[in-house]
């Protein structure tokens, strides 16, 4: 995605929750996905993950990998509810913006 439009913090929260609703993931992989699709910088993600974790939208667990710990993040039921809310709000928002961009805001 081009960096024309900035990804705000709510949208970033929503995208992380959406990634994690597919499968559990660790920081590096999440960052690579987010970087590719949303063009956010590599250091943006940790504070977001930590905050979502504190808000009990995510939980972290450790897996042994190549003789060391790897911390995976998993979405919680609170996180899923939050994601549903974001999806509803996004659909509404997208519709409004589409209306303006594609038909100049005319109400037909």
């Amino acid at each position: 995605m081009a960096a024309t439009f900035q990804v705000g913090s709510a949208l970033l929260d929503a995208c992380i929750l959406a990634f994690l609703s597919q499968e559990d993931a660790y920081g590096y992989i999440l960052t690579q996905n987010a970087k590719e699709l949303l063009s956010v910088s590599e250091s943006t993600l940790y504070p977001v993950l930590r905050r979502l974790q504190k808000e009990e939208c995510l939980r972290a667990y450790d897996v042994q990998y190549a003789g060391r710990n790897r911390r995976y993040y998993q979405i919680t039921s609170t996180g899923k509810e939050r994601l549903d809310e974001y999806i509803r709000e996004w659909a509404e928002y997208k519709q409004k913006v589409d209306k303006i961009l594609f038909s100049g805001g005319r109400i037909e």
């Binding site: 900035q6 705000g8 913090s9 660790y26 920081g27 590096y28 992989i29 960052t31 910088s41 590599e42 250091s43 943006t44 940790y46 504070p47 977001v48 993950l49 930590r50 905050r51 504190k54 808000e55 060391r68 710990n69 790897r70 911390r71």
Partner: protein, 193 residues
């Protein structure tokens, strides 16, 4: 700069955070380097940017997050302090920071004044209640109806006093965490702008 230097500087810049927060962040970035692989060490350091900026994001994130959950009063003071630290560390125009800081300070002072006066009112009602209770005991032998009236007044005043104090402490928690959240959001917005 190599990986070890990056981690060491990050650790040093985060030392104002609670120990657990620092450890969590440092572990995350240690794992991040591990997952990226040794051959990408320099690329990762390039992409992450200076450790000072990484630390600033972590501190700002920590300060903001404290406000949405139920936080004990001491901790919201703590995050207010961290917000001030983040404010000082941020590369925003100094006059803007000063103006925003002055507004936040004014809000904090007025909030403290309101909370203090509520506490004083609550304590006043409480003390009056105790006085009525004492009066009730003293007068009980002489005039029974007066004693009953004083007992009623005492219970009412104690109830009102307790309600005001509870309400004031709820208000102060809410007010201060709202304030630190606003300031935190302001800093984040400036940083992303």
């Amino acid at each position: 700069m190599n990986r070890q230097e990056f981690i060491d500087e990050l650790k040093a810049r985060l030392r104002k955070l609670p120990y657990d927060e620092t450890r969590e962040a440092v572990e995350y970035y240690e794992q991040y380097f591990d997952d990226a692989g040794a051959e990408n060490e320099q690329a990762v350091i390039q992409e992450l940017g200076p450790p000072a900026a990484v630390a600033r994001q972590i501190i700002a994130g920590y300060a903001v997050k404290g406000s949405t959950a139920k936080v004990p009063l001491r901790e919201s003071w703590h995050s207010a302090w961290l917000v001030i630290l983040a404010l000082m560390a941020s590369p925003i125009a100094v006059p803007l920071a000063l103006a925003a800081g002055a507004v936040a300070l004014a809000l904090a002072i007025s909030l403290s004044a309101v909370v203090f006066s509520l506490f004083a009112a609550g304590a006043g009602a409480f003390i009056a209640g105790i006085a009525c209770a004492v009066g009730c005991i003293v007068i009980a032998a002489k005039s029974f109806p007066t004693a009953v009236m004083l007992l009623g007044a005492a219970l009412m005043l104690l109830g009102i006093g307790a309600a005001i104090i509870l309400w004031a402490s709820a208000l102060s928690k809410l007010g201060f965490s709202w304030l630190s959240k606003m300031v935190g959001n302001y800093i984040l917005r400036r940083k992303h702008a």
